[in-house]
């Protein structure tokens, strides 16, 4: 996988974004941790004249952990678009594909350099974070396990997201489409299940109960990367429980790395700029988007016009299908035009 020339090329191509990874880590969990300790926790102890427990010490910075992970998730998607989507808008893509390297190797270097920078940034971050704690008056609260869990969970979730974003880049023709579709599909399983359950309720009056207590819903949550990104902090808190849900991001890496390789090898540069690069997928994508919008607009219209959803089924069906058919048709027309457009970004 290592090829000096390719690493040089990819590094140069995404250098600013790559170096933002350690900077973001350091800002949130090094500098900000020190700020919280010296400007918040120490005055707090002095003011209330009581010692913080180890648990409260760590939970005081969960907000930082959450913000760091959200920022890293955004950066890692930006990195994936720098490697694939942005490459499509200029002659860089021609140059990359003219090099004497297989597309498989090029893709693996793109993946490898991102994961290496992410892992190195997180590792350095944990070391700096640990040093800040050890040099503070709270050094006796230092818990190495917390840092190991944070590193492990974050790297697994963000590698899953990065692999998925790269895969989306291999089937889309522009950076814009890659970023937007990555974001949408990161929440898609839960979103789709919600609109599907509403469809079942309206048509068959079958209530699946409270969504959060539904086991299928939990599976969908595990499959939605968005919830992993925002939920790592809870994972670090309850590692024993969270470990059972890690299959989602692990599956994303295991599934989308080979799939990304497969699609990248078959990329047709003549379709660069199109939303979807593969002609075979264009019809499926158009139909899929129209179906989702039909279901969502149907649900929106029903909720808008029938405040009491427990009313008779017929009262729900009319606004539902008005929104479903109208929304679906409008989406089909719009998508028909959008699919022909060549995006410049």
């Amino acid at each position: 996988m290592f090829n000096h020339a390719l690493w040089m090329k990819e590094y140069r191509q995404a250098k600013p974004v790559l170096w933002m990874l350690p900077v973001i880590c350091l800002l949130f969990m090094g500098v900000a941790r020190g700020f919280v300790i010296w400007n918040k926790l120490i005055p707090y102890e002095g003011m209330y004249n009581r010692d913080l427990t180890a648990e409260s010490f760590y939970s005081a910075s969960y907000g930082l952990l959450f913000m760091r992970n959200c920022a890293l998730a955004g950066l890692i998607v930006l990195l994936a678009t720098s490697f694939i989507g942005m490459e499509r808008r200029n002659l860089l893509n021609d140059f990359t594909f003219s090099l004497p390297f297989s597309r498989r190797r090029i893709f693996m270097v793109k993946w490898g350099i991102g994961v290496t920078f992410l892992a190195a940034s997180l590792f350095a971050n944990e070391v700096v974070d640990a040093l800040v704690i050890l040099l503070s008056p709270f050094s006796d609260h230092f818990n190495v396990l917390y840092h190991i869990k944070d590193f492990a969970f974050t790297i697994i979730v963000l590698t899953g997201l990065y692999t998925f974003a790269l895969f989306v880049g291999t089937v889309t023709g522009s950076a814009f489409a890659q970023a937007i579709l990555t974001a949408i599909f990161s929440i898609f399983p839960v979103g789709f299940m919600t609109i599907l359950m509403f469809f079942v309720y309206v048509n068959f009056r079958w209530d699946a109960g409270h969504v959060f207590s539904n086991p299928i819903f939990q599976v969908m949550m595990d499959m939605s990367l968005f919830f992993h990104v925002v939920g790592i902090r809870e994972g670090v808190e309850n590692a024993g429980v969270y470990i059972a849900h890690m299959w989602g991001p692990l599956l994303y890496t295991a599934l989308f790395l080979p799939l990304g390789l497969y699609c990248y090898q078959r990329n047709r540069l003549e379709y660069n700029g199109r939303i979807i690069l593969f002609r075979q997928l264009q019809a499926v994508f158009k139909a899929g988007v129209a179906l989702c919008f039909a279901l969502a607009i149907g649900m929106f219209f029903t909720i808008l016009f029938v405040p009491d959803l427990d009313r008779s089924p017929n009262a729900l069906l009319l606004p539902y299908y008005f929104g479903f058919i109208g929304g679906g048709l409008v989406t089909l027309i719009v998508m028909g035009r959008l699919m022909k457009v060549r995006l410049k970004v």
């Binding site: 040089m8 860089l92 021609d94 004497p100 390297f101 297989s102 540069l269 003549e270």
Partner: protein, 293 residues
């Protein structure tokens, strides 16, 4: 060395290249000519492996370029824009190529940069168009690759730099044995340096011309007849009138022998003068003669 075999390519469902076949040997310069949209750049991009063909294949020294990309270590594509390297200095560009192409000759690169008086430490984005094009060629030739594909290499260059570049290309081929495939809009440039010209029309090869043999197969005449011009001669499929000024006809005749020439002579014209053949004449004859290539 390079074999293009029955290559076909579609763009947006429209055939752009149709059944293209030709071969390029060692130490040769092959010119690709055709009007805008004829498929010149698409052909170069497909040969290089940037685009995948629908049918056919490109073999370099017996290996399929698309299936074994490693064989591209020995050939370099120079596009008509250096946009990719604007953030590099020529030295960084050279170091990068040295990491890719195993035969990269750093000493030769330095020598050429000095010869063309090109700065090595200045960012390429600050170069003039001519300097950018020259740097791209210097770096490409320093790879010591056996085949270099140049897309419109003299586009936008002033006449002095253009002359310099063309002389340099011929010198490289003569000295190092490199082969070139050059797509160009400029007939006179290709005529000056190429051995073989491939004429593309609507994605097909219209004609492959070996320039040395051109004078044996195409004849250009100026004729003036005493009376009305004999239409049976001008209606022949191998005869084309390219201009008529008063009673003076300039005619192109395509044939291996001299049968048609003799027919013209038999009409006992007042003026019957053979003129030197230019590539432009062949272009007139084959592709309809529009100047906008």
């Amino acid at each position: 060395m390079l074999s293009v075999k029955q290559l076909s390519k579609e763009m947006d469902g429209r055939p752009t290249l149709r059944d293209i076949s030709f071969e390029v040997g060692r130490s040769s310069i092959t010119g690709l000519l055709g009007r805008n949209g004829a498929g010149k750049t698409t052909l170069l991009r497909t040969i290089t492996g940037i685009l995948d063909p629908e049918d056919g294949c490109v073999e370099f020294e017996g290996k399929d370029v698309h299936r074994t990309p490693e064989c591209r270590h020995n050939f370099v594509y120079v596009p008509d824009s250096t946009e990719v390297f604007v953030g590099y200095t020529p030295d960084e560009w050279a170091r990068f190529y040295a990491a890719i192409y195993p035969n990269f000759d750093m000493e030769y690169y330095k020598h050429l940069m000095e010869r063309f008086d090109l700065p090595r430490q200045k960012k390429v984005k600050h170069f003039s168009k001519g300097m950018k094009a020259l740097t791209a060629m210097v770096v490409a030739f320093s790879t010591r690759a056996s085949l270099i594909l140049l897309d419109e290499p003299t586009n936008g260059l002033d006449p002095i730099v253009k002359k310099q570049v063309l002389a340099y290309l011929v010198e490289e081929v003569a000295e190092s044995g490199t082969s070139l495939i050059i797509s160009s809009h400029h007939l006179e440039e290709i005529e000056r340096i190429a051995d073989t010209v491939i004429w593309l029309k609507e994605g097909r090869i219209e004609e492959v011309t070996v320039l040395e043999r051109l004078k044996d197969t195409l004849h250009k005449l100026q004729v003036v007849f005493k009376d009305e011009a004999p239409s049976h001669l001008f209606n022949r499929s191998n005869v084309k009138v390219i201009s008529k000024v008063g009673r003076v006809y300039t005619v192109l005749i395509e044939e291996e022998g001299t049968d048609t020439l003799r027919l013209f002579e038999e009409e006992d014209p007042l003026l019957f003068e053979a003129m030197p053949i230019r590539l432009e004449d062949l272009f007139d004859f084959k592709l309809g003669g529009e100047r906008h290539v």
